[in-house]
Every structure is written in C-alpha cells, then in structure tokens.
C-alpha cells in the first residue's frame, strides 16, 4: 500500500476582488465580486513507504497548499488523497497521531517556556509511552545536537536552534509520514547541512516517508532520489532527479584548463566564461565525447571536467517554459 496516494487533487480558492478607490469599496458592500484561483489542479502522485521525495516549485506553485491538504489543514475542492490509509480531511485522531507537518516559519513550540516542556506536552497529547519517549528524545538530542538547548525557552533560541528544536518537537511521537515545508529556510550553510544530515539519518533509521519542499536545491540533491516539480498548481515532472537532468537539460558543461593564454574555444561550443587559462563551455549532450576528444587532441590541456549543469539551472529551465505541459521539452 502506498504511504501517500494522491489522485487528481484540486484546490480552488475563492477570493474577493474589487477595483481600487472609494466608489469600488462602497459598491463591494452590496455586490461582492469574487474570482476563483486554482492553487492546485488535478495533482496525482504516490509515495512508497520510506520514500524521500523532493517537492519543488517556485513561490505560489501550490506546494504548501498540497502539503496542507495532505496533513488535514485544507479541504480539497475535488480529487482524493489518502495518507497511511486515512483521508486527511477527516482529521481523525489516528491520522493526526501518525503524521507531522513542519512549516519553516510556523511554530509548534510554546514560545515562553523551555523546549523540554513543549516536548513533554507532545508526549502526553500524542500518548507516547514513557520508555519510547525517552529513547526518541535521546536519539533526537544526539542527532540534532540539542543538548542544553532543551532547557532554554524557544524565544531565546537562534533561528537555526529553533528549527532544530521545532523538528524535535514535531518528531517526538515518531510520525510515519513527514511533510516538511522549507525546513532549512533562512538558516546558514552549516545549520542547513546539519539538518539535512539529520533528516537523511532519520529517514534511514525509521523508514519514514518524507515529502520535502525546499528552495535550496542542495537539500533536494542531498536527500531525494525522486523529485516532483510543480508550477501553477500542475505537476510538470515526477521522477528520478537524474532523469530530470537527463531529460530536460540537453547540454553538458565542459570545464577545460589549457596551457595557452587567450585561446579561442568558441568552435568547440558555447563559451560561458573565460578566465585566464580556464574556460567553461556548454556543449550539446550528444556531442560531448567528440568535443572532449577534439579539445584533448587540439590543445595543450592541463585539466578537463564534464559536468551536468547545476540542478538550479535545470529547474529554472523547466519553470521558464522550456517544456510543454506533457512533460517533454518544448523545443524540437
């Protein structure tokens, strides 16, 4: 059975609409105009138990709306979803006890009291047996390096420390499915890496199913084998991260260092940068072996590497409309 099963899930918001000005404000008192905004349109996907999937899209793409529908905070306009066999919108206790939603800027901790008290509250509310609680808390303390943070009120913690504690509070009941909405937002690189390592370890140790949204592609690359790309409420791609690059980036990046000042490499491919002896080229994927062969044969090469373009570039290309709605590159 799938841990998360989403079929043609749709969410349409009805929002009030009026023109600027006093007259329009007065008119809206009597005849309120509204319009429908499709936040998520017929989204379908499934997550196997233990899968760690990246959910990627620009602001307003429908990521958070989808996560909220899957955690029972939003009622879908149409379509169907089940999480661990439960329909999220029914908000059954058994369902809420087995999932968690971590939202980067929302707070599940009680602001003015030590973190340990918020953990204790969740232990009782989620009915976690004392032995399990102690074991989970020890594990979270170790993996997240919480230590003395537990004794401090949430309001006295830095952004990064707060996020670590927020994650601990959200996981103390050992949820089987984690919805993570921008868990590393605003954190420095070291803290991002620590949280990333923790999430990978936690997923491996407990076989939890994770759906992660992040604007940091480093998060997605480090954690997710599979990626779902969403834009304007529609899924543009669902598959392996490597497939996304293979399918939607027709170019490779060749970085070559030659022992020759001012060499003109434009006949080998599109020159992106030329700095001293070092040149970066973009080359059609199919031509890469031939181009690297020619470079090595023609020039006094010191070093040469072939890379896929950065994942950000591939995603940006996807969002820029480089592929049509069927999920294939728009270009011929």
């Amino acid at each position: 059975m799938l841990a998360v099963d989403v079929r043609e899930l749709t969410k349409t918001y009805v929002v009030p609409e009026r023109e600027a000005g006093l007259a329009a404000a007065a008119r809206s008192l009597f005849a309120r105009r509204t319009r429908s905004v499709a936040a998520v349109t017929e989204v379908s996907f499934g997550l196997e138990p233990g899968e760690f999937v990246g959910f990627v899209g620009p602001n307003g793409a429908g990521k958070t709306t989808t996560l909220k529908m899957l955690s029972g905070l939003l009622f879908p306009s149409s379509g169907h979803a089940t999480v661990l066999g439960h329909v999220p919108s029914k908000r059954e206790r058994a369902f809420l006890s087995r999932i968690t939603l971590v939202m980067g800027q929302r707070n599940q901790m009680i602001w003015d009291i030590p973190v340990i008290d918020s953990l204790e509250r969740n232990r009782v509310v989620y009915r976690v047996p004392s032995a399990d609680y102690r074991r989970t808390l020890d594990e979270l303390t170790e993996l997240l390096e919480l230590g003395e943070l537990l004794e401090r009120p949430a309001r006295n913690l830095s952004l990064g420390e707060r996020m670590k504690c927020e994650i601990a509070v959200s996981l103390i009941h050992r949820p089987r499915v984690l919805f993570l909405d921008e868990p590393t937002i605003g954190l420095d690189v070291t803290m991002q890496r620590r949280i990333r390592t923790f999430l990978a370890d936690h997923n491996r140790l407990h076989n939890t199913t994770v759906l992660l949204t992040s604007h940091y592609m480093a998060d997605v690359e480090a954690l997710c084998k599979r990626i779902i790309v969403i834009d304007h409420g529609r899924i543009l791609f669902d598959g392996a991260l490597t497939d996304l690059v293979a399918r939607f980036s027709p170019l490779k990046t060749v970085v070559v260092e030659v022992q020759q000042e001012g060499a003109d490499l434009s006949r080998y491919g599109q020159v992106v940068t030329s700095e001293g002896l070092r040149h970066t080229l973009r080359v059609p994927k199919a031509d890469t072996p031939q181009v690297t062969g020619r470079l090595l044969a023609d020039l006094p090469v010191i070093d040469l590497t072939v890379e896929d373009p950065p994942i950000e570039d591939v995603i940006a290309q996807v969002f820029a409309g480089a592929l049509d709605r069927s999920g294939h590159p728009a270009e011929a």
């Binding site: 918001y13 006890s97 968690t100 599940q108 009291i113 008290d117 204790e120 509250r121 009782v124």
Partner: protein, 263 residues
C-alpha cells in the same frame, strides 16, 4: 485525559510565572469592577436604609461573593481564539490530535489557581472593611459550589462557542463587546437582578448569563428558595447542553470553513 489537563496546567503556571505583572494587571479589572459597584450600592443603602430589600451588609456580601464567582468563571478565549485564527497559529493547533477546548480549559484553570493568591487577600480585606452579611449555610455552600462548577463550564462552553465566530469574521472581538455588555446587564454583575427593571429581570431568565453569576452567588449566600434552586440547576443543565451542541456543530463548521480557505 487527566494527564493532558495536568500537563497543560503545569505549562500555564510556568507561563504565568513568566508574566507576573501581566497576570496582576489582568486581575485588577475583575477586582475593581465589583468593588466599585459594592461601594456605590453600599453607599446608597447606607443613605436609604435598604434598597429593594438589600441593606448595606447584603450588598457587601453580594458583591464580594460575586467577585469570587466572576473571577473563577470568566474566560478570555474570545480574544485568544481571534488571535489564533488571524495569526495562523490555529494551523499548529489543528495538527494536534486533541480538541483545543481541553487545553483551553486547563489553561484557564491554571490561571485561576494562581490568581487565588491575589483574590483571597482582597476578599479578606473587603470583608473586614464592609462587614458583609454572609448568610452561608453548609447546604447552601455545598449546592452553591455545584452551581459554581456548572457556571464555570457554562461560561467556558458558551464563550468558546462565541469565540468560534472568528472563523467567519476577522473582528469577533468587536462583536464580543456587545456580548460582554449584554452579559454585564443580564448576569447580575451591575446589581442584584431583583433591583433591575422588571422587563430586564424577566428577560434575564431566558438568557444564560443569569445562571452563570447571579444564581451561584445567591445560592452560596443562601438567599434562594427551593423552587428557584431547582429552576437554576435546570437552566444550567439546559444551557450547558445547548452550548455543547453548538460548540460541536460550530467547531465542525468552523474548521471546515478554515480548511476551505486556509491561512
């Protein structure tokens, strides 16, 4: 469920210790209001002998007991709930596998326990100053305590239900001003209801407020006959049932509304 109440109660106590001054300031309103009415009515009664059968010592007893009853039964959930909905904090509440009513009750009780530290000396001081005619009897105290407990649950349930209006309007606290004003007149907080205009006194029978303040106060003071005691308890049960039904239905509809729009 008791464990849940206990953990929330401990949290509230911890929070209140963090904000001792705020807690004391909050208390002032609930001490000052009945004290002002007490002074006014005692002064009037002292000048005229009695007012509607109440002498100065009767007024003193009425308002001192009212202060305790009002302190023990009041809630601030309407303000709290509007903040939760407006700030989006409700989302975190909705993720928990527990009805937020329970945590609010525990929170309320925790605050009340702490504020006894202030209310008890105030009551003693007023008793010394105004020489009230407390007509306490063991039976009236026992029945009055039951009425007080029922009044607590009534106010908690009815205020919580009213607070649900925050799902439909972003200004539920403005509506609450009307609610509190009606409560002031019809609960007996302004004056014993027997002294109010007959139409207002009559109308108060059909509203819940009379049964949350006036009834437990008068019962504790042993001023009610058997028929009124029976009626009072019947009305409390009726309003409690009505409130619980409205709370359940309102909560379901409200969550449905909230989850339709999001935040």
């Amino acid at each position: 469920m008791l464990a849940i109440y206990w953990v929330y109660l401990k949290i509230t106590v911890a929070l209140q210790f963090q904000y001792r001054v705020a807690m004391a300031v909050w208390m002032i309103n609930r001490i000052v209001e009945p004290t002002v009415f007490l002074v006014v009515w005692v002064t009037v009664a002292a000048a005229r002998g009695t007012v509607g059968g109440y002498g100065a010592a009767d007024f003193a007893a009425y308002f001192i007991v009212l202060m305790v009853v009002n302190q023990l039964t009041f809630t601030w959930i309407i303000y709290e709930f509007e903040y939760r909905v407006r700030s989006g904090e409700l989302a975190a509440v909705l993720l928990m596998p527990i009805h937020p009513f329970h945590s609010d009750v525990a929170d309320n009780i925790g605050y009340k326990i702490l504020t006894l530290i202030i209310i008890v000396p105030v009551v003693i001081l007023l008793t010394v100053l105004f020489d009230p005619a407390f007509g306490f009897r063991a039976a009236s105290l026992a029945l009055g305590t039951v009425a007080l407990a029922a009044a607590y649950w009534m106010r908690m349930v009815l205020d919580w239900t009213f607070a649900l209006s925050a799902f439909w309007t972003t200004r539920s606290t403005a509506l609450a001003q009307i609610y509190f004003l009606v409560m002031l007149f019809f609960s007996g907080r302004l004056a014993p209801l027997e002294l109010m205009p007959p139409w207002l006194e009559r109308l108060s029978w059909y509203l819940p407020f009379r049964w949350t303040i006036w009834f437990p106060v008068e019962l504790l003071l042993n001023r009610l006959d058997r028929a009124m005691i029976v009626t009072g308890f019947q009305m409390q049960v009726l309003w409690l049932v009505v409130g619980l039904v409205l709370l359940q239905v309102g909560w379901k509809l409200g969550v449905r509304k909230f989850t339709a729009v999001g935040n």
